[in-house]
């Protein structure tokens, strides 16, 4: 139990996917203009990443390892993740068109999102069991969501700023992301994992 808590704390704060590992920067910058869309995107990412962690782990343990196909890891993971995202997208379009509209082109972005693939690969590297894997995927996604949420709040405020013209938009967004990761830097060494 303690390990699981530490896994979550580590994934959310210490080794935050966005701010510490610099994974998933594209949706981080792309979908963070409004707090509401950031929330929707975060929810989608939490769902996809948790599912993908579990699914890839199963594929890895019961398909790749027994048949000695570990070298196919990346290809199979991408395949699994892509189908999973496509599934979510189709379901979302039917069930919540508003959310679908808000997330727009970014849902397919999750497909090729290094954060999702990253979590799957890290799971294998860290030799987690199924529960740990799922928890890690969940935690990483929550960390991603937290960073998105903070960032979207800041960006809503930056929109009202009198930023010098050359720095408007993505430029000041990246500066902010840097400062934000600086603030998260304080958690270094909090959990030794």
């Amino acid at each position: 139990m303690k390990t699981l808590v530490l896994i979550i704390v580590s994934a959310v704060f210490v080794n935050n996917f966005v701010l510490n590992r610099f994974l998933g920067i594209c949706p981080f910058l792309g979908v963070s203009k409004r707090v509401s869309t950031a929330l929707g995107m975060s929810a989608a990412v939490v769902f996809v990443m948790t599912m993908a962690s579990a699914a890839t782990w199963l594929v890895y343990e019961y398909l790749l390892v027994p048949f000695d196909l570990v070298y196919l890891q990346t290809v199979t993971f991408i395949l699994v993740i892509a189908s999973l995202v496509q599934l979510v997208e189709t379901a979302l379009l039917k069930m919540s068109p508003a959310l679908y509209k808000a997330l727009g082109i970014y849902l397919p972005l999750i497909t090729t999102n290094c954060a999702v693939l990253g979590v799957a690969v890290l799971n294998v590297q860290k030799q987690y069991d199924l529960v740990e894997t799922t928890v890690f995927g969940f935690g990483a996604a929550v960390g991603f969501g937290l960073a998105m949420l903070i960032f979207s709040g800041i960006r809503e405020r930056i929109e009202l700023c009198d930023t010098p013209v050359p720095f408007r938009g993505t430029a000041i967004g990246l500066v902010t992301a840097g400062l934000l990761s600086l603030a998260f830097w304080g958690f270094t060494g909090l959990v030794k994992m």
Binding site: I150, G153, C161, D162, L182, F184, G186, G189
Partner: protein, 351 residues
């Protein structure tokens, strides 16, 4: 800036017309037509005044190196602000004293005897990156002085965390030593328990500031006096400092009760490090903290929790800067959550 009412009207049209007295005589603006008289400059000035006792004491404690640090920091902060506004051709705001305050705060967050280039780099990040890139005063998301300090802390850890000078008037026989928090940490790593003696007998020294540390964080009493001055002048409100210090005390207390050998006394945690400097002078920064009182309290508690977590479990001995910086990032979200309710919108609470 103040007296801008033009004395002469716009140039009369250069036609054959015989110009009578100027048509424009009066100033017209929306109501109200009178003002309390306060300016940004006067607010910043009061904060600087409140920091003076601690600054002067730091010069007394650490000697000329401290004076050097303060002067270089203030001058470079104001200089960068002026330079940037020249470069991007914006109306200058160096006169509003906010850059001076940032420079002073950063100086008070540095060890005495910091090399000049360290101070310059810190102020460059504080003024240009953290403040001017966002549009200058009023628009920055993160506290500029803290950004400067944390950049230095991350980039130059040796200069920032291990070259403390122990106080001795005018710094003649400066000895390199560790801060109390640093020593507590070393003791913990070496022996597995914080040195109980260290944490208790030093309370008086901690209070008056006879210890190693950043320039401005050493004297709790003088910082407290400055804070009370600001409270009395109604420049700041009590919410964030009280919540900050209170939550540090409470959280450190809980851990101390759980395991006194591993975790130091709560009063030790309250009195050490940059807590008072941070709580009264940086967690109360207008621009980067929440507007509503409830939001300020949440902000303070957040700062306190992060500070203690980093102090007790992180690899940095001090967490105040990170705590405030992290909560700066949360400020827009906190503001969203605590919108004041309109008068008359039905609400049970009375005055």
């Amino acid at each position: 800036m103040e007296e801008r009412l033009p004395d002469a009207g716009p140039k009369a049209p250069g036609t054959k017309e015989k110009t009578e007295e100027p048509i424009a005589r009066f100033l017209v603006s929306s109501s109200p037509h009178v003002h309390e008289g306060i300016r940004i400059r006067s607010v910043m000035g009061l904060v600087i005044v409140a920091l003076l006792p601690a600054s002067v004491f730091s010069i007394y404690l650490f000697g000329l190196p401290a004076l050097f640090t303060i002067l270089v920091s203030v001058a470079s902060a104001a200089g960068f602000e002026w330079l940037w506004q020249k470069v991007v051709r914006r109306p200058g705001t160096a006169g509003d004293l906010s850059a001076v305050l940032t420079g002073l705060l950063l100086a008070l967050n540095l060890p005495a005897g910091s090399p000049w280039w360290l101070i310059l780099v810190g102020n460059l990040f504080a003024i240009v990156v953290a403040k001017q890139l966002y549009g200058g005063i009023g628009y920055n998301i993160f506290n500029p002085a803290l950004v400067g300090r944390v950049v230095l802390l991350v980039a130059f850890p040796v200069h920032m965390t291990s070259r403390w000078i122990s106080p001795s008037a005018w710094g003649m026989d400066a000895v390199t030593t560790a801060t109390p928090l640093g020593r507590a940490r070393e003791a913990l790593l070496a022996t597995g328990s914080v040195d109980a003696a260290l944490t208790r007998n030093e309370a008086i020294d901690l209070l008056i500031g006879n210890r190693a540390g950043s320039l401005g964080e050493v004297s709790v009493i003088l910082l407290l006096i400055g804070g009370i001055f600001l409270l009395a002048k109604r420049v700041i409100t009590w919410h964030a400092p009280v919540a900050f210090i209170g939550s540090v005390w409470a959280m450190a207390g809980i851990f101390h009760l759980a395991n006194p050998a591993r975790f130091a006394d709560p009063s030790f945690h309250v009195l050490t490090g940059g807590l008072f400097l941070g709580a009264f002078f940086m967690a109360t920064d207008y621009v980067t903290t929440p507007l509503a009182p409830a939001g300020k309290i949440v902000f303070g508690i957040g700062c306190g929790v992060v500070t203690v977590v980093i102090r007790l479990f992180g690899s940095y001995p001090e967490g105040v800067s990170f705590g405030i910086l992290l909560m700066n990032a949360f400020t827009p979200l906190i503001d969203r959550a605590f919108k004041p309710a309109v008068f008359g919108a039905r609400r049970a609470k009375t005055a």
